[in-house]
Symmetry: C2
Subunit: 423 residues, 2 copies
């Protein structure tokens, strides 16, 4: 690699809102998206909510001359909806499916059936190792009473851990996707603090697009105006996040978003706005490396956000235990009712009513039993994330107590020099 090495990386990210039969003008939007991606010829296009594999195959075929490499991340019952198109060969692919992702009985929300995940691509660009991640976290259906908050925080933690553990050898880390988190939300802060990723919108000096970088705006004809009422400019929940590690320096030259309408056809690509970033990677002397070092002064926001997440997951666990206990009692009651019905059926008298009630009782026992098992598993999942957070918190506190000379490796955040003598 030459000493004056410099690499320009153009990336595109969009939540495509591609729900078969439900999303308006889907076929037309997918077609126009394909035309746009071909015309713009990005290095990487990372898409979310491509729920139909046919849409992916259509795009794959259409984009193959410009983007020879593509991958669709399959998971859950419906799929993760994630896919990627790359101008460059993809060296490695893997994915991680989030342990917690909503509730199966919330059928009308549907997230549970999707198997939300994070996909990883490893690319080698001019000798540089790029780890590109694409993800989509659980939706927020009500900001006032968000029953999925603990799940989204757990997902943000799993995402941060997945990036942390799989990017140790990468030179550049890129994360694109719909996080369903506002910039100051706990999950977003946790992710950024633990991974050291930077927000393209906050970092760039050249931003063009919607007000405050919002990615769901009231100008978009597909967006529910009622839901955006509390946010007159819209909300920013889609992100391009990045960092350079080891010998590299990365900056965001330009960031653009669409603004709710396409000048050519009048309708936007999706109910979300697309993000288009131009990143520049170059060699850097060590002192210019912007990676967080989590020194003593930088450790305290990390500790504070870890503590906040730990508390939030604790509340989620209590809730999960409550539901498991409740479902356990209902199962017991259902079994009692079944026994009573058996006795009535055998006896006579109200035999017909007993027979009629037989089906709902069986349903009750099976349903409540399943809910019990589900919430037991939910509590385990939350406990697991909480235990990991607790471990990191303990190490962060130890490091703070011992002072800057003995920073433990997981808190360095940077990829070099993390071999502190431990014994």
């Amino acid at each position: 690699m030459k000493p004056n090495f410099s690499l320009r990386l153009r990336v595109f990210s969009l939540n495509c809102w591609g729900i078969p039969y439900l999303s308006k003008h889907r076929a037309d939007r997918v077609k126009r998206l394909g035309d746009f991606l071909n015309m713009e010829s990005f290095d990487l296009a990372l898409l979310q909510e491509v729920w139909s594999e046919q849409d992916f195959q259509y795009l794959r075929q259409k984009l193959s001359p410009t983007y020879p490499a593509a991958h669709y991340f399959r998971s859950g019952i419906v799929g993760s909806g994630l896919c990627v198109f790359s101008k460059h060969p993809i060296q490695e692919i893997t994915q991680h499916i989030y342990t917690l992702n909503g509730y199966p009985y919330m059928i009308y929300h549907g997230d549970w059936f999707c198997g939300k995940a994070v996909g990883l691509l490893v690319l080698h660009l001019s000798g540089l190792v790029l780890n590109a991640y694409v993800t989509h976290l659980h939706a927020e259906y009500s900001r006032q009473k968000d029953i999925y908050l603990a799940h989204r925080v757990a997902q943000a933690w799993e995402l941060a851990q997945f990036i942390h553990h799989t990017s140790k050898k990468a030179d550049v880390v890129l994360l694109c996707g719909d996080l369903n988190l506002h910039p100051k939300d706990l999950g977003c802060r946790l992710l950024k603090e633990w991974t050291g990723l930077h927000d393209a919108y906050l970092e760039t000096r050249d931003f063009k697009g919607s007000e405050e970088g919002c990615t769901m705006v009231p100008q978009n004809c597909y967006v529910s105006q009622r839901e955006l009422e509390p946010f007159p400019s819209g909300i920013r929940i889609d992100y391009v996040l990045f960092k350079a590690v080891s010998r590299f320096y990365i900056s965001c030259k330009t960031l653009k978003t669409t603004t709710g309408h396409d000048h050519h056809s009048g309708t936007p690509f999706s109910d979300h706005e697309a993000l288009m970033a131009t990143l520049c990677v170059r060699h850097s002397p060590p002192q210019h490396n912007p990676s967080p070092t989590h020194g003593a002064e930088e450790r305290s926001p990390l500790i504070s956000v870890l503590r906040e997440a730990w508390t939030e997951l604790g509340l989620g666990m209590a809730q999960a235990h409550w539901w498991a206990t409740f479902a356990g009692y209902v199962t017991g009651l259902g079994l009692l009712l079944l026994a009573l019905l058996c006795a009535l059926t055998a006896g006579g008298g109200v035999r017909e009513i007993a027979l009629l009630l037989w089906a709902p009782s069986v349903g009750l026992v099976l349903g409540a039993g399943a809910v019990y098992l589900f919430h037991m598993q939910e509590a385990k999942g939350l406990y697991r994330a909480r235990a990991e957070l607790h471990h990191v918190l303990g190490r962060a506190r130890d490091a703070q107590d011992l002072g800057p000379e003995s920073q433990p490796a997981p808190l360095l955040g940077q990829q070099e020099g993390d071999r502190a003598e431990e014994q």
Copy 2:
């Protein structure tokens, strides 16, 4: 780190057979295991099938003076059963739950409820980064007609990918656990070929223990003699696997197994035999590095095993699709039956019989619907693993066609020098 650096690492691995209420002499065995671990003072004790968290807490308390660090990996409904006790501080912890893990309706096998997983610990020992993994794959209930084969192959692939992607910065990689795979089974070969891990039993010159290194032996009073009938010496399904990367060389000085009976008390620790390995890590000049380089001559076994796994997962997918289709038809028939029963109940005549059949019909529709969704998700999970295998196969073939000068990085296996120019 001194140039004559050398590190001795003593590890212990055991499937503890700790099923509450079902496993014989559990409390006594756990107590004696704790005494033994305290007496031997290993660097790491990696346990499987510690299903009861109370057992873990008991051991944690008992072992805390010798092993100050411990972690219990929670997942699924019951748990993963995995836990670890370490003499050295644990720097980082994470885990990955396998996407596929049997069938929920196979209640008497129970694996699905456990949430089988792989746990990762990062330790820093005298400046050396050690990634230690502990896992337990889906059990094999019948070798002749193994309905879980595709799931176990998919688990072996996920395990290999997890190790591959999370150990890129590690100096030493260690994997202990019950793989439920015989040494020549597809999953075992796939894991070893893709990660470059070496088998302690095959590598050591000093082995003491059961015949052929078996970890389930007929001499063990807890083992079902009928199940071991085809294998007079027993079976080897528990492993200590290791590799050193970058600047290090690792060897297995000694490997011991228990032999089915404890001389002091007469009963063994578990129905599995324990593995005790002494590993030695030292600096190595690059030419002595035993890590596989997947050169042209070494690529062909990799390609062959990838192809075999790809085919096996294809068979699994076909099976999953068959079950999904069958369950879909049954759901449809159940719905028809329900409609008929409604008509009969409203009409009269065989009203009582109609009412009696109401409950099983509702059960049929709900049950078959759930089976349909489950197998759809199974097919997606298998497809995902297959797509990853396909990608690796494609790159392996490209590398073979192009010759040794242009080996793609994922096939190098080693941690250094994987920055081939791609464009």
